[in-house]
Symmetry: C2
Subunit: 592 residues, 2 copies
């Protein structure tokens, strides 16, 4: 089962649900007029179907091999990576002055979904490189940029982000890797990092590591962390590769999924110390990390969307071919295809609706992050920045929860065949699992949403968003289209629940933080279910108004989501507001 | 991380939530007075911790090997199986006249949970044998029973159930394996079966296969299916093993989980035909299968409970040791254990509450199935049979959904470590996955619940159960214990939702079956969430009334479930009653 990028759905989500078209028309995107969007996505879809998708199973089956510090990727992977860079896909959103195409993040977001859908373990490598590019572009010295930036943008070299250590996972401040100042202004790094994605591989000549470490005189915790650029091979003045630096893969993990993506233990300092260059200022490493965190988290959310769509396409294909039993009212002679059975149909439309909702939430986040840097008006920029900050944890956590839920349903649609590895459905489920964990677990995202994003400006970002959503709901209510069923009512109830839950949390986040924290996870779900429902409805309205394709399809999709997912909003509100006491009073239960 | 059977919780659930104590006191269990329950469970727990749990990882890592028709299980497994039969665990609920201990199904249900928790892939073998025993005991001739039954009960030989063929999964009636009558009254079977659990292995000298096949002159569909006993080795008159029968494992599956359990493709007839003995009458095979379906489905539900508890214990242990970050209000110097963070605490209590609810639902099903055969009064028996039939699909589907959800959360609590196979959390998640699929997918269970169990007697079984649940809710409301929080209100709302949804479905199941079918899955969830909430509340009330252990622990558990799971009842009701149109009108969405 291969993969076809759903270009029509992507364009509707991007232009209408996520508001790219309106932002372009309002002049917030400068020169970019959106004319090339469809062509870029068509080409991305073609590359994904032709080159990346066929390597997805191969990668899972072969995995990677580590031998004496050298990692060999699966057959065909280095060649595919070469084609990837040659076709220019690595450079889509990179800055133009270093060879990038300078396209909006929103376009790259759609591409990221497409890469993740076709081959999530492959797509993860450029996703990490993108974070490295961002960190270097924002905080690196002119000299470092000159040497490294264009090669990272073209993809000739890849980047890694090295934060985690055994005792320092979610708690980055607990890291111990040590960086000593050398007389020549460089640093010598010693220490061990774990869970380093593509920390070593055979797809490029060089790898540029971005490593968080601690100076000998650094303050404790996150305030004493600095960011260093540590190349695998030193780079000579003429740009050619020099000596091997003292950073090696000393182990690779045996993982549930993402088998083709090497997850390395990296050891620095066995031969005197890895040479590192400071990025940004000393002890400002956390600031550098935060700069790129929004984009990286959005990228993981898009992995959730991509894997969900892949799982959906595979399950749909199976359900259209597999015959079992007779459907009620069937006029055929033999068995019917299982998609004719309402329970299977329910699973498939649920998969599609959840995927579509997550997609638009992620794209809307990308549009906000674009406008935050591209708009001419400072107020527009700052409001967009707040919107982007608010949406990012939802885009990350809600979409990856959905990626997992949809991949789970994908296995279920296959019945017994779903449990057999060769079918491929199980791989999506295994691969999806990490997306709810890395780049900040989904629990961390919920806490970020409640304690930073909601509370940041007394709730102003949330009220502004609710006002926009309210306009969508009014349009649904005013449409008088019976095909919407009870969509308007469900969305209205959800808006009220989200508003009440937000106020409840705002009242407690300062005074009773543990109560607020206990409700964080259901609050994020409530937010995602409300937002997704409204966005899908706005897409259905746009499809009707502008006669895009078959509008009834999008109305039915929005309705299903509202009546089966958004409908949970009132109960989620209660879990937020009633539940704190139970959670925080749970010690008796957990210790008994 | 090993496993400790939660004897205290099991006893509370069995005696109080599930009503074993009341049934014993009412005389429905005959001679059985419940005095030995605790001792049996303590011993089961010991065997599980000492013998089975340590082999769980080994089994997953080694898997099984097939070589020229011979399957080798993982190191230590044949020896553990030997100890298992020697200790008498295979015979717990087997009929006494063939060497079984004749203990109630309810006791065996608790044991099944314990085996599944300690080593689900091991426990699956006796679970299948139990089904074989049931089929043979109910339908086999005296001669067949004489030869095979006591050896199956002791576990000296194991049994398989062979239904599935490539074109016949959920649709059993589509099977093609052929049985020809032989002059001596036996049959010759030819065909291929797939997905046969423990179809071949090295733990016993003989394997007794129960195979569904079709006579040459059989009617089409399920009405033309017969059940045959097909031994791996023929049995001589003196009970010794004779010639090898023509049934061989020709392949084993490469699966997502349950690696230690061989899932075989079985080929019959390459050497003239496998010799089979008819069980029951010709063309009555489906009846034989239905006989044992309740117990088999309950067994799978208990696998869900077991794997959930194992995942919970592992996550709890990790959360009590792993240190990351500072909790709000923490007075310590360094990092806190992650269980101190409310979001982690929420995940753990959710795991525990969901596990406890599923446990009691399964045990209550077992008690009903016990009373249905053990009670003296025919009316009591028939009401219990209806209750058992009603609860079985819920026990199977709700509990295995929970098994998957809890195992998912178990991975999440571990953060990045959860994705690493050596941690063990991922294995539980992989192993759990099949439980929602086999023995009738959970969608099939929902359809069974709506079209057969709810509709069977015009809803009478449901109304009788609702009346019982109402009494529990009244007690909660009357308890005036503030520790219950809003439990009473949540349960009351859920009862009303369940009643309305049941009526809505009853009105449509005959006249608009596709509408009823479209709501089947949310209806089963609604039923489970309501039932689980009420059962946990009744356990909390019993713990308070009878001063069992620390009653506040059970009150907090019931409250969490009510406020975070049962609270979804009203939205699930709406998904049942609003959603049908969306699902059945979804063709535009799925084909666009």
């Amino acid at each position: 089962m291969t993969y076809q990028a759903p270009i029509k759905d992507i364009l509707l989500a991007l232009n209408h649900g996520a508001g790219l078209k309106a932002a372009v028309e309002a002049g917030h995107y400068g020169d970019f007029d959106g004319d090339i969007t469809e062509a870029v996505l068509e080409e991305a879809g073609k590359f994904a179907s032709d080159v990346l998708a066929p390597l997805n199973r191969v990668g899972d089956e072969h995995g990677i091999k580590l031998d004496a510090g050298t990692v060999t990727t699966a057959p065909g992977w280095p060649d595919a990576y070469k084609r990837w860079t040659e076709a220019g896909w690595n450079a889509v959103s990179g800055p133009e002055n270093f060879g990038g195409q300078g396209l909006p993040l929103a376009i790259n977001a759609a591409c990221t979904e497409i890469w993740s859908a076709s081959n999530i373990a492959f797509g993860l490598c450029p996703l990490l490189t993108l974070s490295a590019i961002e960190a270097l572009d924002a905080h690196g010295s002119a000299e470092l940029k000159q040497i490294y930036l264009s090669k990272l943008i073209s993809g000739e070299w890849t980047g890694t982000m090295q934060l985690t250590e055994p005792q320092a996972g979610s708690d980055v401040g607990a890291l111990r890797t040590r960086a000593d100042r050398a007389p020549d202004g460089t640093y010598r790094l010693k220490g061990t990092k774990i869970f380093i994605t593509y920390g070593e591989h055979d797809m490029t000549d060089n790898i540029v590591h971005f490593v968080l470490a601690r100076l000998p005189d650094a303050p404790a915790g996150t305030k004493g962390i600095s960011l260093f650029l540590v190349p695998k091979f030193m780079v000579n003045a003429d740009g050619s590769l020099g000596t091997r630096n003292d950073i090696y893969a000393s182990g690779v993990e045996h993982k549930l999924g993402m088998h083709a993506s090497p997850t390395c233990t990296m050891t620095m300092g066995d031969h005197g110390g890895a040479i590192g260059y400071l990025v940004g200022e000393e002890n400002q490493g956390m600031r550098c990390m935060f700069t790129m965190m929004n984009q990286a988290r959005l990228g993981v959310g898009l992995e959730g969307v991509g894997i969900a769509d892949r799982a959906y396409q595979q399950a749909l294909g199976y359900a259209q071919e597999r015959r079992q039993g007779r459907a009620v009212g069937s006029s055929g002679n033999g068995s019917d295809v299982i998609i004719a059975h309402p329970d299977v149909k329910r699973m498939l439309i649920q998969m599609r609706a959840m995927t579509a909702a997550a997609r638009t939430i992620c794209y809307a986040t990308a549009v906000a992050l674009d406008v935050a840097v591209r708009a001419k008006d400072a107020k527009v920029r700052s409001e967009a920045a707040a919107r982007g900050a608010l949406l990012t944890p939802i885009a990350k956590a809600f979409s990856t929860d959905i990626g997992n839920e949809v991949a789970y349903l994908g296995v279920q649609v296959h019945g017994g065949m779903g449990f057999i590895e060769e079918t491929g459905a199980a791989q999506h489920s295994r691969d999806a699992r990490i997306t709810a964990i890395y780049e900040g677990t989904n629990g961390i995202q919920s806490i970020d949403l409640v304690t930073r994003k909601l509370a940041a400006n007394g709730g102003a970002s949330v009220w502004a968003l609710l006002a926009e959503l309210d306009r969508i709901v009014k349009q649904v209510e005013g449409s008088n289209d019976p095909a919407f069923g009870t969509t308007g009512q469900k969305l209205r109830d959800a808006l009220l629940s989200l508003e009440r839950a937000s106020r409840w949390l705002l009242e407690r986040v300062g005074t009773a933080p543990n109560d607020a924290l206990a409700g964080a996870t259901p609050y994020l779900r409530l937010f995602g279910a409300t937002l997704g429902g409204c966005y899908l409805a706005s897409e259905a309205l746009a499809a009707r108004a502008e006669h895009l394709g078959d509008p009834q399809r999008y109305v039915a999709l929005a309705r299903f989501f509202a009546e089966n997912v958004t409908v949970q909003a009132p109960s989620l509100e209660k879990s937020v507001t009633d539940g704190a006491e139970t959670v925080n009073g749970a010690d008796a239960v957990l210790l008994g």
